[in-house]
């Protein structure tokens, strides 16, 4: 992590961050994404701070989810998708062909729109990642990893008596926290969340938001959301996307009170989108 600051100083930012207080974890430079012939992302450069929550907002189809999926190279799994540009994480370009996307994804966890627990027990859902990456040796150690992950995700008290029950049997909000616990279990550095609350009711949403706020202490979190209130509540930085372009990026407070761009203003006040 020593290289972070140094790295930050030598890159020129096209979308300027208002304050450079925290160290930069992810530095995206000139990212373009194409689906076949269609360009989904146009030349986006953006720096994401460590140990904070960055929100991506914008109307549907603006490319915010696509951009999020660049950070753990999930777009590799889509046949027609092509990504160009550089994304530096701790000084190394993750788009370099030498980087193994499978290993990268153990450092960058992801939580999806719809809770997607595996068709396994609660315990095995959490143990899945540590097992494939060999992070725990022996049953006792694995038990510890599972308990810690569930505790961090605020789910331990609710499920500790039924760890062997299927994960799909939990409620929607619990399933989503299970998915967050699953992501935490491999000790990632970055957690990407793609509209994690869009399938949840307000109470479950409040719990997830609370959880995100706690996780901020340890992880770099990027969240895509359609809810302006959610972005305002949980994030420190907000990026506004429109038609595949980054329109504005800065401190959440400033974006919501005093946006520089007319489009941002229109979107957050509900005039379009």
């Amino acid at each position: 992590m020593d290289g972070n600051m140094e790295h930050f100083t030598q890159t020129k930012s096209s979308a300027r961050a208002d304050t450079a207080s925290a160290p930069i974890k992810v530095d995206c430079q000139n990212i373009d994404v194409y689906y076949g012939d269609k360009q989904a992302i146009e030349d986006i450069s953006l720096q994401i701070e460590d140990r904070s929550v960055t929100a991506f907002i914008g109307p549907s189809g603006c490319g915010k989810s696509t951009f999020l999926r660049c950070i753990n190279r999930m777009n590799d799994t889509i046949e027609s998708a092509k990504v160009t540009g550089k994304i530096f994480m701790d000084g190394a370009n993750i788009n370099d062909p030498a980087i193994d996307p499978v290993l990268l994804r153990s450092r960058v966890g992801m939580v999806f729109q719809k809770p997607n627990p595996f068709p396994k027990s609660i315990y095995d859902n959490i143990a899945y990642g540590p097992r494939i990456h060999g992070l725990a040796s022996g049953k006792a150690e694995m038990d510890e990893v599972v308990e810690n992950s569930l505790r961090k995700a605020g789910l331990w008290e609710e499920v500790k008596d039924r760890l062997l029950a299927p994960g799909t049997g939990l409620s929607g909000g619990q399933q989503q926290r299970l998915c967050i616990a699953r992501a935490i279990a491999v000790s990632p550095e970055v957690i990407l969340m793609d509209e994690p609350c869009s399938a949840l009711d307000p109470i479950a949403t409040a719990k997830i938001e609370e959880l995100i706020d706690e996780l901020r202490e340890r992880y770099c979190i990027v969240i895509v959301t359609h809810s302006m209130q959610q972005a305002a509540r949980v994030s420190q930085k907000t990026a506004f996307f429109h038609l595949g372009k980054l329109i504005e990026y800065g401190d959440t407070e400033r974006i919501f009170t005093n946006p520089e761009h007319g489009r941002t203003q229109d979107y957050i006040t509900g005039r379009f989108g």
Binding site: L103, M110, F112, N116, P117, F118, P119, Y128, I132, H133
Partner: protein, 468 residues
């Protein structure tokens, strides 16, 4: 006049007349509704077209019912009448002979180019038969016309501004659809009932337990009806077939749904499914001409190896292995196509979840996709097994005829289906235990495949509940 009717292609004429009647009735009904509305059709409960449909339905439905009944019972009526008119000496021949005599009359009478046979009694009966057919047709047509006219006037009398013609037409369509579904179900019930009936006749002669658990099968001589060797042969060949079809089908399904590019998929999948379209008799050729000799040659070679006792493998020209291998190839598409569907039905979000955890593709398939798709895959395998058990042509051609119990797959074995074919081809009388045993075998086959299918359907249903 009657004779002319006896020879006319009445069915087509009737069809044309009914269609014309329906068209006319529609037109009349529609016009009447327009008249009722006096130009303000929005005032009507139902639009004029529906009134037209309703009158057309009321016209042709009763006529169709009468004609349907005629098709079902017309010939029996004519035959009963002819039988009554024949002289005492022919009637005294007994039911079977009499029926055969009338068959000959009917065949002679319905042939246009038939010449007089010279037998005065027979020729007279034949002419009489033609007349009776003509008479019955005229009667049926007159009745149908009367019913159509009645329906037509009834339909017209119902029309009014408030008449809910739309709802009535809806009822009519619903009934028509129900009828089609009912025909399918009733046919199935009929098949099962006839099988059951004949099987029960068999079991009145041969003990159920000695049939189900006996180990000697010599049905051709009518001596032994122990079906265990047939069950054994059937399941051994089905097992061999599944040894081929299950892994190849499953792995090709995984390849197609998870690994293949859309281009490869669009080429390979239709080719695989083409396998299902090859007539089974062609597979039979292939098994007999190509695979069976190879199996035999290999078995002979193994027998010749120094440390193998003489005659270790039977090395027969037809063998369970040859039939099983080819049958396995035949059912690959059943396994792969259904498995491909269920694997594709596993939500993409599950795969994304595994990839996002840093799982590789094969880890994702093995640990996430397959467990999620497992119930569906099991169902696909069960359906393939029931297909293998019921398959006939390949085993008839390549498995052999000998009813024996041996674990040696290069021996010739026989199956339930092979025996059914053997028992029911050639000259057969339908009241010997030999022929009836075919129905008992068919019934067992039906029950076994039914059970497999029911389990498969239940498993699939459970699976669907989970992911949709």
């Amino acid at each position: 006049m009657l004779e002319t009717f006896g020879h006319l292609p009445v069915a087509w004429l009737l069809f044309a007349v009914l269609a014309a009647a329906a068209f006319m009735a529609f037109y009349v009904g529609r016009t009447q509704a327009v008249g009722i509305a006096r130009g303000y059709t929005s005032q009507l409960n139902s639009q004029p077209n529906y009134h037209g449909y309703f009158v057309a339905m009321a016209t042709i439905a009763p006529a169709a019912i009468i004609l349907f009944l005629y098709i079902l019972f017309g010939e029996s009526l004519v035959r009963a009448q002819i039988a009554g008119e024949l002289p005492e000496r022919i009637r005294a021949l007994g039911d079977l002979e009499l029926a055969q005599y009338i068959d000959r009359i009917s065949e002679h009478a319905t042939r246009r180019d038939a010449l007089a046979t010279g037998n005065a009694l027979f020729d007279a009966a034949s002419d009489r038969y033609t007349d009776l057919v003509g008479l019955s047709r005229i009667a049926a047509i007159l009745l149908a016309v009367l019913a159509a006219a009645g329906g037509f006037f009834f339909g017209r009398s119902r029309l009014s501004g408030d008449f809910r013609a739309r709802a009535r037409v809806e009822d009519g369509i619903k009934f028509l659809l129900f009828l089609c579904a009912a025909i399918a179900v009733l046919t199935t019930i009929g098949i099962v009932a006839s099988l059951l009936f004949e099987a029960l006749r068999f079991f009145s002669r041969v003990n159920v337990f000695s049939f189900l658990f006996g180990t000697e099968w010599n049905a051709q001589t009518g001596a032994d009806f122990g079906a265990i060797p047939l069950f054994f042969g059937t399941f051994l060949i089905a097992f061999l077939a599944m040894l081929v079809a299950a892994p190849i089908g499953l792995f090709s399904a995984i390849y197609l749904s998870e690994y293949a590019s859309p281009r490869v998929r669009s080429i390979v999948k239709p080719i695989l499914e083409l396998l299902a379209g090859i007539p089974t008799v062609v597979y039979g050729f292939f098994a007999l001409q190509f695979v069976a000799p190879i199996v035999r040659a290999s078995a002979t070679w193994i027998n010749g190896l120094p440390f193998i006792p003489d005659g270790f493998l039977a090395a027969q020209p037809t063998s369970a292995l040859a039939a099983g291998l080819v049958m396995g190839i035949m059912i690959i598409p059943f396994v792969s196509s259904l498995s491909d569907d269920v694997i594709n039905a596993v939500p993409q979000t599950l795969r994304d979840g595994a990839y996002a955890m840093g799982a590789t593709k094969s880890e994702t398939v093995k640990q996430v996709v397959m467990p999620a798709a497992l119930p569906g895959v099991i169902a696909a395998l069960l359906l393939a097994v029931s297909r293998a058990i019921g398959e006939t042509m390949i085993v008839v051609m390549a498995a052999g005829q000998r009813a024996q119990i041996t674990p040696d797959p290069t021996a010739d074995l026989t199956t339930i289906t092979v025996q059914i074919v053997a028992l029911l081809t050639g000259d057969t009388e339908f009241d010997s235990a030999k022929t009836l045993s075919a129905f008992a075998l068919g019934f067992v086959l039906f029950i076994v495949t039914l059970i497999f299918n029911l389990i498969a359907l239940r498993v699939v249903k459970k699976y669907r509940e989970k992911y949709e």
